[in-house]
């Protein structure tokens, strides 16, 4: 009975983990984005963090060739808001094993982008959503995959500025 129990447990763990292992394609996952609290006429910072599946890399925001597709965060705020200062981390330098002389500027692993969200003086109080997307193009050492656009959204809460004492 005990052996059967352990066999069953092992089979469950193996089968349960298999889809997760198989699903590791050339994709990224955008981690939950913290809501931004801002007062009318003020600015607040936001961060967007995403994870690139192991074995793949994407071009940085400043790839070394114009032919390569840069990673870009695109945000489309409602009219009462403005986005500025999107900051991308510097890329890691790498070269393909078969092209050691050619340098690439890429991201791999976990990447965090930051930016500022400004609320207009007349911004209404309440909760809003800023829609956007992350454009990226992934490769492994031997293959590349077509550019993709991952949708994302940042929740914004506009509340009155604290009164000065």
């Amino acid at each position: 009975m005990r052996n059967f129990f352990f066999l069953l447990l092992a089979a469950t763990l193996l089968l349960g983990a298999a889809p997760l292992l198989r699903a590791q394609g050339p994709d990224i996952s955008i981690l939950p984005i913290d809501p931004v609290k801002v007062s009318p006429g003020k600015a607040s910072s936001f961060t967007v963090t995403f994870r690139i599946n192991p074995g793949y890399h994407i071009n940085s925001n400043k790839p070394y060739s114009d032919l390569l597709i840069a990673t870009q965060l695109k945000l489309f705020p409602p009219t009462e808001f403005m986005i500025s200062g999107i900051t991308y981390p510097p890329g890691e330098e790498m070269s393909l094993p078969a092209m050691p002389e050619e340098r690439l500027s890429v991201y791999s692993g976990t990447v965090t982008l930051t930016g500022q969200l400004h609320a207009a003086r007349n911004a209404s109080r309440g909760t809003f959503r800023v829609h956007g997307s992350l454009v990226y193009q992934a490769c492994s050492d031997r293959q590349c995959f077509p550019p993709k656009t991952a949708p994302l959204a940042i929740d914004v809460k506009v509340s009155a500025a604290p009164k000065p004492r």
Binding site: M1, F4, F5, L8, L9, A11, T12, L15, G16, A18, P19, R22, A23, G25, P26, L67, L68, I69, L96, A98, M99, E102, L104, Q137, C139, S140, D141, R142, Q143, C144, F145, P146, P147
Partner: protein
């Protein structure tokens, strides 16, 4: 023998009551039922996950081998329409690539070399540019800079679909003189592998006696 050794071991735990043993069996049974349910769900997830993962990759190279290469019509850099069937009697290396793909660009010098070396024996390398915004002018500029000496065509999703949905670049099909697929390779190949496949495509029987079969043509 010491006095300590002569003392029989004494269990401090109370002997299991019949009710406890019954409870233990019940817990065991519940755990087994739970695991069976989890196992079934995991198996279902496992098998449903197999399907959406790159359908073209689920077809093995063996399934492609010997099959007629689907005919297509694409535009070359001079604006002329080119059909795969135009190359009947020649071995064709059909290379799906893009300018934004470093492994594809890495292969180009080898393909140039192959065209030079094996062109006189009847090899035709055909590059299908899969850049979204590819135009004859943009690909032509790239081709001049890379000294490409083989045919370049402007690709389309339709043609990619004809070849099983080309998702990863480069993907290369080696087609014999009869228009049958000899090999399919995902990713950038080493020079020796590319040359081996070129030789295989050139050597395949038939030597142009038949035409390229028209699959789901343009």
């Amino acid at each position: 023998m010491t006095e300590q050794n002569s003392i029989p071991p004494v269990s401090l735990a109370p002997p299991p009551a019949p009710a406890d043993a019954h409870e233990s069996r019940r817990v065991h049974r519940a755990v087994v039922v739970f695991l069976v349910v989890v196992l079934t769900i995991a198996a279902l997830v496992f098998f449903t996950h197999l399907k959406p993962l790159q359908p073209s990759r689920m077809q093995t190279a063996a399934e492609f081998r010997g099959k007629p290469a689907p005919d297509f019509a694409l535009t070359d850099l001079s604006g002329k329409t080119v059909h795969l069937s135009d190359y009947r009697g020649k071995a064709v290396v059909l290379n799906f690539w893009a300018t934004w793909c470093p492994p594809c660009v890495r292969e180009i010098p080898t393909l140039v070399e192959m065209q030079k070396q094996y062109g006189p024996q009847g090899l035709e390398i055909v590059g299908v540019a899969m850049d979204d915004d590819a135009t004859p002018a943009s690909i032509g500029r790239f081709a001049r800079e890379a000294n490409i000496n083989y045919t370049l065509l402007i690709g389309s999703d339709k043609v990619s679909d004809l070849y099983g949905g080309v998702e990863a670049l480069p993907t290369t099909f080696y087609i014999d003189r009869d228009g049958r697929m000899v090999e399919r390779v995902f990713g950038a190949g080493e020079r020796s592998d590319i040359e081996d496949n070129v030789k295989k495509a050139l050597a395949a029987a038939g030597a142009g006696a038949q035409q390229v079969e028209h699959g789901a043509s343009n």
